[in-house]
């Protein structure tokens, strides 16, 4: 066992929701995932839902490790399969507030089919996608979210593929709440997390998060990547999802905001009302 770690005073408000005995985290210094974790926990505290009713499900990857650090009922399942596992929980116990937290590769790469159909059926779960534009855990290979031209270990000459836009995909598939922020936009992120808890239906919150591997593969410092995000991110009200493609090295702004927020009966609502008659 490693020696006991104490959280800095600024974490006091969420200490009871962190498995302090599991620290330090596996994340690299400067990684953005920790910001997502603490913002999520603060949002859980602020949500009007009893903490014990919150459930976190993660797939595999750096972002997937979030489920292991929360002192909540939490499940760390297979690569790409957090969404169907979460759906199983939610269908069985609709009173639970089920949130998936995982990486971009996990959710829209290997798990892409589940993402599409969960959105289409409007399952009443929340999906937080930490988008670092790369496969972090496995050492920095190309992801479906890697921008064209970016270098990764499997695109040593630059990525020739077009990247996927998560908001566009989510909306096309039928998600009823979709927002995108970056780890530099903590207040907005928090707001969206609280909204997704309240939202009845499939809620997707994408968080852009700089990855040290992405930076080094592309010959820049991690801090420069933060700087790019700070410079290029543009908050738009009612943003056009068609404008949501991320061009990290070009001069097009990166559009942030709430892309959609609509009401549609959730799958769970429909299924349970048909059973109860």
């Amino acid at each position: 066992m490693s020696s006991k770690i104490e959280l800095p005073p600024t974490y006091k408000d969420i200490e009871d929701l962190i498995r302090v005995d599991r620290l330090p985290t596996i994340w690299c210094p400067g990684c953005g995932i920790g910001i997502v974790l603490k913002t999520l926990l603060r949002a859980i505290k602020k949500s009007d839902i009893d903490v014990d009713r919150h459930v976190i499900v993660s797939g595999i990857g750096c972002a997937g490790r979030v489920s292991g650090y929360v002192r909540l009922d939490s499940y760390h399942v297979l690569h790409g399969r957090a969404i169907p596992f979460a759906i199983g929980i939610k269908l069985a116990k609709p009173e639970l507030e089920v949130t998936v937290v995982s990486g971009d590769g996990d959710i829209v790469g290997i798990g892409g089919n589940h993402f599409i159909h969960a959105a289409r059926r409007n399952h009443d779960i929340n999906v937080v996608i930490v988008n670092n534009m790369i496969y972090g855990m496995t050492g920095g290979q190309v992801a479906p979210t890697t921008p064209r031209g970016a270098r990764t270990t499997t695109t040593p000459y630059g990525n020739i593929e077009r990247s996927i836009s998560i908001p566009l995909l989510a909306i096309a598939a039928g998600a009823t709440y979709v927002a995108r922020w970056s780890v530099l936009h903590v207040d907005h992120m928090m707001n969206s997390f609280i909204k997704m808890f309240r939202h009845k239906g499939f809620a997707v919150v994408e968080i852009l998060s700089p990855c040290t591997l992405f930076a080094s593969r592309n010959g820049i410092e991690l801090l420069q990547l933060y700087e790019i995000l700070r410079r290029k991110c543009k908050i738009v009200s009612n943003p056009d999802p068609w404008e949501s493609h991320i061009d990290i090295f070009g001069d097009k702004p990166i559009i942030l905001g709430e892309f959609i927020e609509i009401e549609r009966p959730s799958y769970e609502e429909l299924v349970w009302s048909s059973i109860r008659g």
């Binding site: 499900v57 595999i60 169907p84 596992f85 269908l91 116990k93 589940h114």
Partner: protein, 388 residues
Amino acid sequence: MEREKLLKPGTYFMTGNTAVAEAALIAGCRFFAGYPITPSSDLMEHMARRLPQVGGIFIQGEDEVAAINMVLGASAAGLKAMTATSGPGLSLMEEALGLGFMLELPAVVVDVQRVGPATGIPTLGAQGDVMQAIWGSHGDREVVVYAPSNVQEAFDLTIDAFNTAEELRLPVIILLDELIGHGYGRLRVPNLDEIRIVDRKKADIVEGYMPFKTHVLVPPFAEPGKGFRLHMTGLVHDERGYPVIDRDATERLLTRLLLKVRANRDRLVSYEVYPCDGIDKAEVMIVAYGSIANIVKCALKRLKAHGIKAILFRPKVLWPMPDVELCKSVESYGVENVLVVEMNYGQYLYLVRAALLHCPTPYRFVSITPGFYPSPKELSERILRVLS
């Protein structure tokens, strides 16, 4: 109220797939996720109609991977859950079967076998999934594999399958094949009170609860939403459910998980020797299971007419294997030849071979072309040829 909607005691004429579905409901299954595939789709369709009537949840997933992971999620939330598929679907589910084993989640997976590999012949039965049922996941995961050979057994073994899954907290597999799944047969349903139903042992004390701590192989189960704040991971973990990279912890976890099946082997093993009476010596012992065993039973009479005294050794549970029992039967009946008959090119054969390792009795193999059930006459002729 729900109870009234279950199959009433009485005698029925139904298919194996329907019998499995109805048994599942009686066993307490309240969640089904599936994906259409011949020859198991009608089982799913039956559940789609029946589950809402008993207050259960049905969902058709976007693929088999979704289906099995939904089943595991529902099981993690405390419901008895099941899926049904055929060989191609089972292949897709294998990774999740390992997860279910690791997270200790009860689940029942029905595989109504068809001809493989690949798409094979979807409409014709076979027995080609034995190996993937027993060993299909990566790593050492152990499951219990049931192989009913008629409608009544499909019903009875489904109840057993749920009970085993709940008691040992692991996924189990029921191997049917097209002939049993779609074939009609007689089913007697006893009074519900006469059916033993097992529910997983639940944790009741939140304070100090560790999801993987146990002195009796199977830890008590905790549902989410009750304040346990439990963590489960498919990574090798300690008793708290925390991932560890440690030799002792790895050894402790993996051996405990495997021991659930291995230490309970004597209780789980199930087989039939046929005919059960009137015979104390047999020259030939045929090892067969599932639908093929039925054809063997008919063929035995023809063999007798040819002066060959043969018996059938039929495992109802393929894994854990009745290996000791098989050897004992070989000895006690004075068997001179063991003959394995399967509708594949030699799968259970390997296990029989291993079982007979220390037994001098020779063994032979009759492979039946997947999909093409022989008549008892054809089968007995083939057996005679192999024996001569």
